[in-house]
Amino acid sequence: MKKKIFAIMMCMMLVLAFCVSCGSSGEEAAPEESAEPVSAEAVDQRTVYVTPDWVKSVVDSNQAGYEDYVIAEVAYPTDPSDDYNAGHLPGAIYVSIQEVEDATGDAEGAYNLLSADAVRDYLLGHGISKDTKVILYGDDPCGVGRQAYGYIWCGVEDVKILNGGKAAWTNAGYELDTEAPEAKEAAKDFGTDVPAHPEYWVSIEDAKDKVANDDNFKLVSIRSEDEWLGKTSGYSYMDKAGEPEGAVWGKGADTAFDVAQFLNEDGTVKDLAGFQEVWADCDFTLDNFLAFYCGTGWRACPPFLVLYENGYDNIAVYDGGWYEWLMHDDYPVQVGDPASDDCVHTTVGELETGKALAE
């Protein structure tokens, strides 16, 4: 009897494995009721972080100027995530972070933003041009921030993020939908050359050059204290720890996978005053040119966006972060607090290995 059961189990496992080869299918679920229409005060075009009430007012067609909008749930998988299928904001499409950034991590891609043409083509496919109002949300404030940053860099002029994501939406008493939204017709013309804002993106070459030669240029590390001090790289896939020489610490993270210090207790991203509190004793001011970076560009995005929405243009993201810096053995590195005598100044090639985050 046991033999038969195991024989059947084997058959089932094989069928399962074959099914994987054929791809995955979407789930269907019953629609939910919608809540009552909501109004909310208008916000500036450059405002990024918005409340559930404001998003609801757009969904309810009670926000002037926001008739042509796309709302999208952001997550990493290329196909709609299980979270999305389980329930999403009414009318929300699904967009993958892999539509804005490289997923290979090879020397050419380095987890940086994709080419502007590629990002634009994905946007056009979703019916988004530079004038389309885009509202993003997701569970990870860094991932959603990365998507928003990529869209702004590419040229979308009005990008919002539902601050607090789906949790904030449901906590506000609004319901989720499980019906697949009607696909918007693909846009043909984006309306501007891309990237419309190349000034918001700093290459590794520029980062290295400017941090060494421009006193006003601050390469701001949005990494945890252990990463900043070179105790760990923070990642399982980087085996050397340290920071680009000349970098200053912008705090924000407790680990390589959060920006906890930039968040309120309810999980929403802090406002500018909250960021300034975190940065009170940091070695930069908001008058400097600030190029934020982290490991691969996710944690760097929330501070960029908060300054962006407050009208700052002296900001950018050094996209390659510590990951791309490690690809260059001759690049200068500091290990430890640069204000202390113990700080070691060396190069990537000379760094000791074994500093990857233990799994």
Partner: protein, 140 residues
């Protein structure tokens, strides 16, 4: 070791190996940290060994074992019973799947391809070993 117990252990391990193929692909599709770990270690592995050669040599060896196991099972009377027949069919299906995986799985298919192929190979090998072990009646 008791023959029946060894069958059970090998069945469980083979099922785990094929389940591993599924979960590796799923995690590579959904887990950012895992994808990047795969990129890092996959690149290191492919730089350090001639991966393509190794995978085909592995496939040839495992298929040879599977063929021997099939021949042995078919020679045994027990193979004519329903259990033996089912296990032979499962082994053939697993072997075909492993050949398909070896030929078709690459980075574009899944970043976890370099783990999925050996997992499918391990599952096939475990099934082959299971078929090589004579059932209780002929084991004496």
């Amino acid at each position: 070791m008791n023959v029946r117990r060894s069958y059970i252990i090998l069945d469980i391990l083979a099922a785990a190996a094929f389940a591993g193929v599924y979960f590796l692909k799923e995690f590579a599709r959904t887990k950012l940290g895992f994808v990047r770990w795969l990129n890092f270690n996959g690149n290191k592995l492919i730089e350090s060994i001639p991966y393509d050669k190794v995978k085909y040599i592995m496939m040839a060896v495992i298929l040879l074992v599977a063929l021997l196991a099939l021949a042995a099972a078919l020679r045994r009377k027990a193979a004519k019973g329903i259990n033996g027949t089912i296990m032979c069919v499962v082994l053939i299906a697993a072997s075909l799947y492993y050949v398909y995986a070896t030929i078709a799985f690459d980075y574009a298919y899944s970043q976890a391809f370099f783990l999925m192929i050996p997992a499918a190979g391990a599952g096939t090998l475990l099934l082959a070993i299971r078929n090589l072990i004579p059932p209780v009646s002929s084991a004496g």
